[in-house]
Amino acid sequence: MITLKNKILTDTKAAVFLETALVMPLFMILFCFCIDLPRIIVIKQRTYGVQRVLAEIRARNSGSFNYDASFLSSLFFDDNLSANVKISINNYEDKKTLLSEIVDIQDWLKNDIWKYFTGILKFLGNIVTGGNLKPYLFNVFSNDKLYHGSVTVNAQTILPPQAYNDLANLNAPNVIIKTEHDCYIPSFDSCKYTGESFIGKLIDWLHKL
């Protein structure tokens, strides 16, 4: 027996076959990785597109998005490459620009001890500007928002998802793909009509007379 064992261990016949069989799992993992990685990269790039479309639709519709995630999925993940890819829309976190935050100053003042003082300021402001403060400043500046588009994409991979999710400290059943930056598109509201000043209303009343 000892002789046979030594013979098997020392014999070089079919050694290449045996060694190939030993490294084959490593090769297979590498092979799967070669398929998974470019696929994840492509899906991630498409995710940027999804976010852009989401943000742009919202920006053109005053923040509303009347479709669901399947609409976005049909636009970007409708091929064999992206089978079993699921999109979920994240919470919207619209940003305000410096100009639109000027409008918030009045709210900020209202919540403080300036409550009554703000009312007086607003009244005086309207008197001084002939009621133009709201239609021509506040209503315009408050429209200047940046609408948010952010999605999370779940994709199935050949290798177990833990192999990828562990890199991001996740323990999800699918690989979760997120982008480095969400997309923000400015509001397309070009203020075609922002309301009338009280002078305008007075003039309208005179017109009716």
Binding site: V16, F33, L98, G130, Y184, P186, S190, Y193, I203
Partner: protein, 390 residues
């Protein structure tokens, strides 16, 4: 002797190992894995740049659209304000007409000896009515609306630049002074002040570095200085205007208004000359704006670095640049519908909208509307040439 034997044994073992087929798979596995990982490394690095390019493009698009949207807002608000000016003056013109009629009646009574005093009273009342109308115009149109109109006409480009800078930064473009993008800092009073200051400095700093030089000037071609009626009434040369002009001439004969006659017949300069034709719409449209964003590159792997020229190469950290061109299309000052006054359309919101447009629109520097209306110079050509020389 012993040492030589050991050396011979080692040599024998080495020759045996080299001749042996054992472990061959290990060697080619190492070589193949190395090449596969090298290719994957390059793929990964290229995808990183590709993602950065998408981020930069989104930022550039957002910034360009923001400026164009603000230009649209400027146009639309000017239209709205024009509309209010027009409506205000139309009402006041009717009041002027009433005052002219009263002046005519008063002057007729003054011709009679018995009714002379009544005639004087009527004429005086007509003068007061006309003065009130005049002061209403002064306050509403000249003080409020005209100034507001100028604010938007001249300021919308600047407001667009401020907001575009923020739009680009929120989309991940490089921030000149990135404090305020750091949401992790505290919310106490000092942090808020620090953030606000950083934001202002950042915004203004980046506006300063925007490589587009521009100047904005509004020159208005005046209508005839001798038109004896308020310019803002609808169709001053249309049917019935001769009667109205006659009434205005009568009003000017009111003896109580003589000293104010220069002020009385106001003339609000039109936003745009009536000489502009519909066919010239393209010429008077606001020129497109271009926004470029820059992202510094992050570290790349050694292998990618080798392919890009090595450590000494300038390309080892290639920057990402993207640009976008947007334009305010349509709008009050370029559109008119049938029955409208040439520069005072009768309905609100004729409407300008912002669009991304192709680069071809930027080929030549824009010089528009030098004689009257909006004049806008954008030294885009110079800028673009420099940008693409790199």
């Amino acid at each position: 002797m012993i040492i030589e034997r050991i050396k011979i044994n080692r040599l024998k073992k080495f020759v045996k190992r080299v001749n042996s087929e054992r472990g061959v798979a290990f060697y080619y596995t190492v070589i193949i894995v190395f090449f596969i990982l090298a290719i994957l490394s390059v793929i990964y690095d290229v995808s990183k740049f590709s993602n950065k390019k998408i981020i930069a493009q989104n930022a550039a698009d957002a910034a360009a659209l923001e400026i164009a949207v603000w230009q649209c807002r400027g146009l639309n608000l000017v239209q709205n304000i024009n509309m209010e000016i027009y409506e205000t003056d139309e009402v006041l013109a009717v009041i002027y007409g009433i005052a002219a009629g009263m002046t005519l009646v008063g002057e007729a009574f003054e011709a009679s000896v018995i009714l002379a005093e009544i005639g004087e009273a009527i004429e005086k009342a007509a003068a007061e009515i006309a003065k009130v109308a005049h002061y209403v115009h002064e306050v509403i149109v000249e003080y409020f609306l005209s100034n507001m109109r100028e604010f938007y006409a001249k300021g919308s480009m600047f407001m667009g630049l401020i907001s575009a800078n923020e739009a680009a930064m929120h989309n991940g473009a490089h921030a000149f002074f990135p404090w305020h993008m750091d949401d992790s800092s505290g919310d106490n009073f000092l942090d808020k002040i620090k953030k606000a200051l950083a934001r202002i400095v950042n915004t203004l700093g980046n506006v300063y570095y925007v490589p587009i030089s521009f100047c904005w000037d509004i020159s208005v071609k005046q209508e005839s200085a001798y038109l004896p009626i308020p310019i803002n009434i609808k169709d001053p040369w249309g049917p019935g205007s001769d009667k109205y002009i006659a009434l205005m001439i009568i009003l000017r004969t009111n003896q109580y208004l003589l000293r104010d006659s220069d002020k009385l017949f106001w003339k609000d300069p039109p936003y745009r000359s009536r000489e502009v034709k519909e066919s010239e719409k393209e010429k008077i449209a606001l020129p497109p704006v271009i926004c470029a964003t820059y992202l510094p590159s992050s570290d790349i792997s050694f292998i990618s670095k080798y392919f890009l020229g090595g450590d000494k190469s300038d390309y080892k950290t290639p920057p990402v640049i993207a640009y976008a061109v947007a334009q305010a299309i349509g709008g009050n000052v370029t559109m008119k519908s049938s029955g409208d006054h040439p520069f005072r359309p009768t309905h609100y919101g004729v409407g300008a909208d912002a669009f991304l447009v192709p680069m071809e629109k930027m080929i030549k520097p824009y010089y528009i509307f030098g004689a009257g209306g909006v004049t806008l110079y954008l030294n885009i050509d110079d800028y673009v040439n420099k940008l693409f020389m790199h």
